[in-house]
Symmetry: C2
């Protein structure tokens, strides 16, 4: 299983839907350090998940990130060129549509104690497997 | 069919994978003008597509953009909170993973004449249908 402890320096170079190299579009080169789409994990306090639970307990939150460079079509390459040239509005969210996205294919529940010693279980809170979709 | 002529002022307010409202995460409110995931189109010169063709012919390039607010899981809401709070590296591409992505489900070929009067057909260049995936 491809589960790695979260490293900020690694994730900072990660692009979920990066521009990739192609003989048809040599200008669209990837960052050399773009890691592939994979399951990653980070230890976080439950209250940091923004779900409204008063709990300082730490849980292992797993999520999907990474590049999907081997799944891009002529359409994706053209859309990347239009976004980069400003013929379409640029922006991270828009650029993300120019390639498949690294998304969870399976989830798992996460259980924890709140600060009043009550158990809670949040269904499908953590990712369990990732794939390039779209 | 949901095909609209491309309007910059419309697309500028579009987020492909936006943060959306939720009773669990009231802080994560969408832009009120976020349009839903849909097929859009723009008239562009073939050379602007960055595929290496010398052609000043204009083609109708169709692509997918828009919000997928009704497909988000507990995992997506938690990931959005971690990204917004800086507990994970922020950024458009990373944030785009916190919701399903608006991507083509079908494509269509596009034919055009280059500046030397030769016909070319690029397979699956234009989107033909869109869906929120992941």
């Amino acid at each position: 299983k491809n589960v790695g402890k979260f490293k900020p320096t690694q994730l900072l170079t990660t692009s979920l839907c990066p521009v990739v190299a192609s003989p048809l579009a040599p200008a669209l080169s990837p960052l050399p350090l773009d890691p592939p789409c994979a399951l990653r994990s980070v230890l976080v306090r439950v209250r940091g998940l923004g779900l409204g639970y008063e709990s300082d307990e730490e849980v292992l939150f797993k999520f999907c990130s990474g590049a999907c460079p081997h799944h891009r079509s002529n359409h994706d390459l053209a859309l990347s060129a239009l976004l980069q040239s400003g013929l379409l509005p640029a922006g991270g969210a828009a650029a993300a549509a120019a390639a498949p996205c690294c998304r969870p294919t399976h989830h798992e529940d996460v259980a924890f104690l709140d600060n009043h010693h009550r158990w809670h279980k949040v269904e499908k809170l953590s990712a369990a497997a990732c794939h390039c979709v779209g």
